[in-house]
């Protein structure tokens, strides 16, 4: 008894600094957080990035505009289709060419499929981090359908490299359209299943309501985009306010939250999946007939079966592949809405076939920077919820 009294008198409470990650399973990749803890409360949180740096921006400067496309697959590797669409849109803006109508619709379809598959992974892993195992398994069941559709479309499941500058690689097949339509009709009921399991669950609500609150003004000042910004009640969506591809021809709503906490961001992303499904359905129904590659022989590869029949096409094939297209000088920025937020590509062209500078404005990088703001002052268990809710992928963050 005396010992305990003695200990209580001399007991010092110290702040403890621990390193969370880069191998922590809940940090969604290789994010490392240096946490200073007072008991269970987070006093200071410092994110460290760069464990997955591959120099994609620099690699892009050493390849022609056409050949740099597969690099963008590796940015945000769970929604590579959206990155590809963003890249080709930016390059098309620089070249001054436009994809045909059918190609735009196909791109919209595949980009929204990519959004659904990315959000499904977000849902599964976020919920798994917080403690529910079942939605994770259900989510991956639906993702498999999308992956199979991608494989049918272009021969690869994850690193698709499907869109091309001036269109898409190949036209979609009738079987693809059939199976996609079946998926589209089926998907809302699966969404209901997820919501039954998670949305009203009291444990889930305890863990997310009022956690990681960020006001609208603050969210804008931090540079947040995408679902993370909309959860705070800011009605901003690149698809709506600077439409690219076929987004101005389809109807969809932009869901916004009110409180700006983890739960609202969760609701926003769930609704986004339903809206993505709605966009795909409209695009299938409105899909026009026509070519899927632009008629711009100076910028797009010629049709394969014409290369050996026609001299001009053969010359174009050789020039485009070895030297790259002749590009107007100038600078271009193009932002597109990927599942994580606004992905921007900024090109400085010096007139050669390779970009002088290729800059990627990655949403995950910006979102990782807001982590200290969300985590500091909270509990250590809420750090996991916050990492999950800002939806970062470190491949994009470190580039």
């Amino acid at each position: 008894m005396e010992d305990i009294e003695q200990t209580e008198k001399t007991f010092e409470t110290k702040e403890l600094t621990i390193s969370m990650g880069p191998q922590h399973p809940a940090t969604h990749g290789v994010l490392r957080l240096l946490l200073t803890l007072a008991g269970e409360n987070v006093v200071k949180c410092t994110p460290y990035v760069g464990y997955l740096h591959r120099g994609i921006e620099k690699l892009g400067e050493n390849r022609t505009y056409l050949a740099a496309l597969p690099l963008t697959d590796r940015l945000d590797y769970i929604s590579s289709m959206n990155n590809n669409v963003g890249y080709v849109n930016a390059v098309e803006k620089l070249f001054g060419i436009e994809a045909p109508e059918r190609a735009k619709f196909i791109r919209t379809i595949v980009a929204e499929m990519g959004r659904i598959s990315s959000h499904i992974i977000w849902l599964g892993t976020h919920v798994l981090d917080i403690g529910a195992t079942t939605p994770f398994l259900y989510a991956f069941r639906e993702r498999e359908v999308i992956m199979d559709l991608f494989e049918m479309l272009c021969g690869a499941r994850l690193t698709v490299s499907y869109p091309r500058i001036g269109g898409v690689r190949n036209d979609i097949s009738q079987e693809f359209l059939d199976e996609l339509y079946d998926f589209v009709l089926d998907f809302p009921s699966k969404m209901d299943d997820y919501e039954t399991l998670v949305t009203e669950n009291r444990i889930w609500k305890d863990r997310t309501v009022g956690i990681g609150v960020i006001s609208a003004e603050e969210a804008i000042n931090w540079g947040l985009t995408g679902g993370t910004l909309r959860g705070s009640g800011v009605d901003y969506d690149v698809r709506k306010y600077a439409p690219y591809d076929a987004y101005d021809k389809v109807e969809f709503d932009v869901p916004v939250g009110t409180n700006g906490d983890c739960y609202d961001r969760y609701l926003v992303r769930m609704e986004e999946m339903r809206q993505a499904n709605r966009i795909i359905r409209q695009c299938i129904e409105k899909l026009p007939a026509g070519p899927v590659m632009a008629d711009a022989p100076k910028f797009t590869l010629p049709p394969k079966d014409m290369v050996l029949k026609d001299m001009e096409h053969l010359i174009h094939q050789f020039i485009l592949i070895t030297k790259g297209p002749t590009v107007p000088e100038g600078e271009v920025y193009m932002g597109t809405e990927v599942p994580k937020g606004e992905l921007g590509f900024y090109f400085v062209s010096d007139g050669s076939g390779r970009p002088y500078r290729m800059r990627v404005r990655a949403p995950s990088y910006v979102h990782a920077s807001v982590l200290p703001r969300l985590c500091e002052g909270g509990m250590i268990a809420d750090v996991i919820a916050n990492i999950g809710t800002i939806d970062i992928v470190l491949g994009e963050c470190d580039r």
Binding site: R63, P70, E151, T159, S161, G167, S173, T196, L287, L301
Partner: protein, 187 residues
């Protein structure tokens, strides 16, 4: 509203709903596959291991122009050529580092002769680097193994585009009307 919430809190209705869903799912057929025993069927046009195409006479189609190597984003194709009789180009070595390849399929798009292709074979892991450094002979053997007969002829025609029809509207394009027609047939 308040009473509803009270009932929910007391009787765990949302938990029971979730449990009912998992119980229902228990009686649905499994979606998983016992992989090494049960192989996953790949879709036609899958981007797998490389092969060098042969023509009808059984000779290599490649002429050594080097476009695939120039276009390759990971720069993993090496081609060495020399001059033969009548100033003909001879492909001495054609090598692909499979471990560095990213399977984008750009080499297939670049090749004007349809001489290189990606097969549907994807299980080729190994313990050393040597078997995964593809030489010309290995790549030609891949063609015999994975594209024997009619399949090789059909492969480029069906799966490797862009083809001229992609540059213009054509009959048989995938449209929504046909989806609707199929659904009616099924009913």
């Amino acid at each position: 509203m308040r009473a509803g919430k009270f009932i929910q809190t007391i009787f765990f209705t949302e938990i029971i709903k979730g449990m009912a869903l998992t119980l229902r799912t228990l009686f649905t057929p499994p979606v998983t596959r016992r992989y090494p025993k049960v192989k996953r069927p790949v879709k036609p046009g899958f981007r797998g291991l490389h092969a060098l195409a042969k023509n009808e006479e059984g000779k290599m189609k490649c002429v050594g122009c080097g476009l695939c190597g120039a276009y390759c984003p990971s720069q993993c194709i090496y081609i060495y050529t020399s001059e033969g009789e009548d100033h003909k180009k001879i492909v001495d070595r054609y090598e692909i580092e499979v471990l560095r390849c990213v399977y984008c399929g750009f080499c297939v798009e670049a090749c004007p002769f349809g001489a290189i292709t990606l097969s549907e074979h994807y299980e080729y892991s190994d313990y050393s680097r040597e078997p995964l450094y593809m030489t010309k002979d290995k790549l030609l053997a891949n063609w015999d193994r994975y594209f024997a007969g009619e399949k090789g002829l059909r492969y480029f025609r069906d799966f490797w585009r862009p083809k001229a029809e992609n540059f213009s509207a054509y009959e048989g394009q995938a449209m929504f009307d046909k989806v609707k027609a199929r659904r009616k047939e099924q009913k």
